[in-house]
């Protein structure tokens, strides 16, 4: 690989694609060629990247030869259709969809948690974890390393940007309609999201869980490398634009005090502890996470279980939950070749 890296982004016009571009620029990623790809519908749009103006190309017609790193953020069906083609042409594919996350030949990597795993990628594809798992892993990995996590009970408060740009439009429009006493018509979500909460993410599975809940189970097992951890998740969509929050109750093998936990978490790269017992002394999507890189953790408490802890974990689901981690993985790939 040259000093400069040829990059392709699939899904460049979406919410994650847009943030991928912003983060590549912010972090001064050593881009050589930059190809922005999307479906036929968006092909022809122009997007600025620094001084460059780039015309979006139809991914179906694109020849991936010469691409070093392909960042896929266009959903599972696009990844299913094109990722292998890019990998076969020599690119390292970093995929943001759930398509390959359970494939044993595709490493599932959180940059600060299990970066070593990305070196073993027989298919040339690296999977970016689901946004809610991502932030959970940054907060829990140091605890698991030190004290062994045996059980995780998690309830999420997921923002609509996790669903995509149309969902953000839906929240904005429904809210304005509500305030104007107009009728609401749910389209993206099955029921009204404005001034409501919806305990439903993804599709319902045989066991009554939703696919977004099961991702938290499967991905936690893979990333922490321990499938004995009991994970119970309830995934809930809330009327927030950016930033997922999580109420997390865990049980560890060895006892950890709040003070020990705080110290452990303070030492974890990518994690910021905001934990004062005062008004606003805890992270929220609006006050801390939205538009920011770190995962934030607060409300650290001991619970009734003799080896139990409660935590409140918040992060920008589009940044650390998706685009930022993908770029961090790209940086790790670049670093290993130099």
């Amino acid at each position: 690989m040259n000093k400069l890296v040829n990059v392709a982004i699939a899904g460049a016009t979406g919410a994650v694609g847009e943030t991928l571009l912003a983060i590549l620029a912010e972090r001064e990623f050593p881009i050589g060629e930059l190809h922005l790809l999307a479906s036929e519908r968006s092909a022809g749009e122009k997007i600025e990247y620094g001084a460059r103006q780039i015309v979006v190309q139809n991914i179906a017609d694109f020849d991936p030869s010469g691409i070093d790193i392909a960042l896929f953020a266009a959903g599972g069906s696009v990844s299913r259709k094109y990722a292998a083609k890019f990998a076969a042409a020599g690119a390292v594919v970093i995929d943001n969809s759930s398509e390959f996350r359970r494939d044993e030949d595709v490493p599932l990597v959180v940059a600060e948690v299990n970066p070593g795993a990305l070196r073993d990628r027989p298919r040339g594809i690296i999977a970016n974890p689901n946004c809610s798992t991502m932030q959970l892993m940054v907060a829990l990995a140091p605890i698991h390393r030190r004290a062994g996590i045996e059980r995780i009970n998690i309830a999420t408060y997921q923002s609509v940007s996790g669903t995509g740009r149309e969902a953000m439009d839906e929240l904005g429009k429904q809210t304005a309609d509500m305030l104007s006493f107009r009728e609401i018509e749910p389209k993206i979500y099955p029921v009204q999201i404005a001034f409501n909460v919806i305990p439903h993410g993804g599709d319902f599975m045989e066991n009554g869980y939703t696919s977004e809940e099961m991702k938290l189970v499967w991905e936690t097992h893979r990333i922490l490398g321990d499938d004995t951890i009991g994970v119970n998740a309830t995934v809930v969509r809330v009327p927030v634009f950016y930033g997922h929050s999580e109420a997390v109750h865990i049980e560890t093998r060895d006892k950890l005090t709040v003070a020990e936990t705080r110290e452990l978490l303070r030492a974890q790269p990518g994690l910021e502890v905001i934990d004062e017992h005062i008004d606003g002394g805890y992270p929220t999507p609006v006050t801390h996470a939205s538009g920011k890189d770190p995962v934030y953790v607060g409300r650290i408490r001991e619970v009734s279980h003799p080896r139990g802890l409660s935590l409140w974990v918040v992060a920008d689901n589009i940044r650390k939950g998706a685009a930022l981690n993908a770029v961090q993985l790209a940086e790790l790939v670049v670093a290993e070749r130099q």
Copy 2:
């Protein structure tokens, strides 16, 4: 007591007071005299009740003689100051504040769960539980009776009406300001509530929990009559006007299957099971709870724990969570005297 009951309502002009009046009328409570009381600030306001127009009186000047039932919904300080005076004058006080909820001489009663407890009220006061405990108890009591609950991990999604009318105004105004790109100024909540979630209810305690979280612990122990239950709560305020939701993970002494649990819950008065694995096949504040009497439960799942269950519980916090239960307790008091 005559066939007709003389009723006083303290806090008649607040969000709960208004709903108390609506529910008394809906349920055709056998009201004789009806006295509406509030602080000096609201005294003189006129409120309609059926064909009657009633002038709100200053509670400080009111003589409680002849009152049979006094419904207090004006906050802890008013209850602290006046409840004993009403009880001494012969009224049964049903108090919606947290003032007496931990007083061993004041029963804490959910009408469908532990109605027998209200007969033993040496102080003449009955406490109405906190809204989030209320709905949790209706859903968990039948499970506890059958299988013994050992642990409860709960994360709440509490609407702003639980804080009061000013909080509802704040959510409305902040939301409109956000949509108009105006500056937000939090007043009732410590940080912005519009398009945000806030992991903070009540005051911070020594142990890092908030008072709203500890109420879930203390009140659950009292109502279920079992202080060995481990309760771990995270209380979160969400931008919803009416209706509290709860993601609940429990562990029982005896194994219960999802089918057994559903059957148990279907037989519980005051509870409605909405649990289909389809779009909208679960309760939400807007689609089910707001303005309705029952507690709704759905998303019933077995979890990784060998005797674990997950539930999603939603109810109108102003109705079942406050006013409805208070009126149900008043009905029980009337029934015992006849």
